[in-house]
């Protein structure tokens, strides 16, 4: 068990690689109750969400969710989050555990429009059922219409009698469902899902597999690819930055950066030499020169069977296919910049 944002969480239950492969080929279950939930309600709920984030929440239908960034004035990220529109005047924000209180305070400080704001992490548990067998397995436990539930939409329904918010969202690159329920029901729901998943090869999955799965799927992790010193434009999150939606915190800085061009950029890389890139290792653009970039997340990719990483490099060097070198314990090991996501699930 490790301490993760104040929560005791297992890194693995019975082998990280097995857990990772279960999610790619069958189904895995994660207890991600540590994730923070912040709710915004009232006639000015949309106005507050729009002010503190860079995506355009006015475009969300009721029952729809999107990826979003909580912004600071200088255009950098306070956090990344999913924004769920529960009603016209009710938004449900799922934020990183370690940032929850900080995010809540930041939103409170900026709540000049007096939206109703609640820090509700203690009121929800969250189980994530992820993998190609997730829909079939969950479909047998609920009357909620999963077949018509599209990616990044959500509904409400009972799962084996337990009331849940059922969202087709996730952090693994697979077909996915996230089940929000009352904390008192979470253990029972966990046991029901594990039992029901046995014929499908379900495995309980820990933080270790969660990290390797999201990395393969090319998803950023706060504190690694994104933080208070990087902007969404540098982190290649351009498609979530909606400058045209009107003013928001950090908009001016992002517009300026967009016009002037970014100086550093997040890229994917794959080791071509023998070695594993790890967080914090230096990246070189030649075999001789000084370090020009840094690895933000690096790991063996259990499904792809390659050693992959995210890194920041100078923007002019961010060309796909370019040869780079990663400093692995004092030695430069060859690598190549590649497109992300590293892994894309096969189309059905």
């Amino acid at each position: 068990m490790v301490d993760f944002g104040g929560w005791d969480m297992p890194v693995e239950y019975g082998g990280l690689i097995r857990e990772h492969m279960a999610v790619r080929t069958a189904v895995g279950l994660f207890d991600v109750s540590h994730m923070g939930e912040i709710e915004v309600r009232g006639p000015n709920a949309l106005a507050l969400v729009q002010k503190v984030t860079c995506n355009d929440a006015s475009k969300l239908n009721v029952g729809q969710a999107h990826y979003n960034c909580l912004m600071y004035e200088h255009g950098t990220l306070a956090d990344d989050l999913l924004t769920y529109r529960v009603a016209d005047d009710h938004f449900f924000l799922v934020v990183n555990a370690a940032n929850q209180d900080k995010d809540f305070e930041w939103m409170r400080e900026n709540n000049s429009m007096s939206a109703t704001l609640e820090n509700n992490g203690d009121r929800y548990s969250l189980l994530a059922l992820q993998g190609p067998k997730a829909a079939e397995m969950l479909g047998a436990l609920t009357s909620a219409p999963l077949g018509t539930l599209k990616y990044y939409w959500f509904t409400h329904g009972d799962v084996a009698g337990i009331p849940c918010r059922i969202a087709r969202t996730g952090y693994t690159g697979e077909d996915c469902f996230e089940l929000f329920c009352a904390p008192g029901a979470a253990e029972k729901l966990w046991d029901i899902l594990i039992d029901a998943g046995q014929p499908h090869g379900i495995l309980p999955c820990g933080l270790g597999a969660r990290n390797t799965l999201r990395l393969e799927a090319g998803m950023a992790l706060y504190g690694h690819e994104i933080d208070a010193s990087h902007t969404p434009l540098e982190a290649c999150l351009d498609r979530y930055v909606k400058l045209e939606k009107g003013d928001f915190i950090g908009r001016a800085a992002l517009e300026k950066q967009k016009n002037e061009g970014i100086t550093r950029k997040l890229v994917g890389l794959e080791m071509t030499g023998r070695g594993i890139a790890r967080d914090g290792y230096p990246v070189y653009l030649s075999e001789e020169g000084d370090a020009a970039g840094i690895i933000t997340s690096g790991s063996p990719a259990p499904f792809l069977k390659k050693n992959i990483a995210f890194a920041y490099v100078p923007a002019p060097a961010a060309e796909m296919g370019r040869a780079v070198w990663v400093g692995v314990r004092g030695q430069r090991v060859a690598a190549q910049l590649v497109a992300t996501p590293f892994y894309k699930r096969p189309k059905k």
Binding site: H20, G275, R329
Partner: protein, 131 residues
């Protein structure tokens, strides 16, 4: 299943083991160590002929989630490296005291080994560290 701490080996506080046969020492990591590391995917060991020193780093072992230094239980010179680990690093998980051995060295001072923990001492040490 292999014994979790074979009695014929000596152990370090850094969770390596050494088997002494004449002037040759075979070195690996313990069952406790492989279990704590998780799925091992990469072993970086020195080349044949490289000198190693007791208590000093001689290589690294990497699992999916972490990198760990390897500390030599004794001093000497590397005489053989387990090349099968290049293609099958998982042997370290599956058989840490057998197929998963890391290097063999020519011992320069066999008395160094006497100072290492016995199986009983190591079992107690590992149990205590784990709690």
């Amino acid at each position: 299943m292999s014994n979790k701490t074979p009695p014929n080996l000596r152990y370090t506080k850094d969770h390596e083991w050494i088997l002494v046969d004449g002037s040759t020492g075979t070195i690996g990591i313990t069952d406790h160590a492989q279990d704590a590391l998780g799925d091992i995917v990469f072993v970086d060991a020195p080349k044949t002929g490289t000198p190693v020193q007791a208590g000093k780093v001689f290589g690294t072992v990497e699992s999916v989630k972490a990198v760990s230094d390897l500390f030599s239980p004794a001093s000497g010179e590397v005489t053989e490296v387990n090349d099968t680990l290049k293609d099958s690093p998982e042997s370290v998980n599956e058989d840490p005291y057998g197929k998963g051995w890391l290097i063999k060295i020519k011992l320069s001072d066999k008395s160094e080994v006497d100072a290492l923990m016995t199986a009983d001492q190591y079992s107690a040490y590992a149990a205590q560290e784990h709690s």
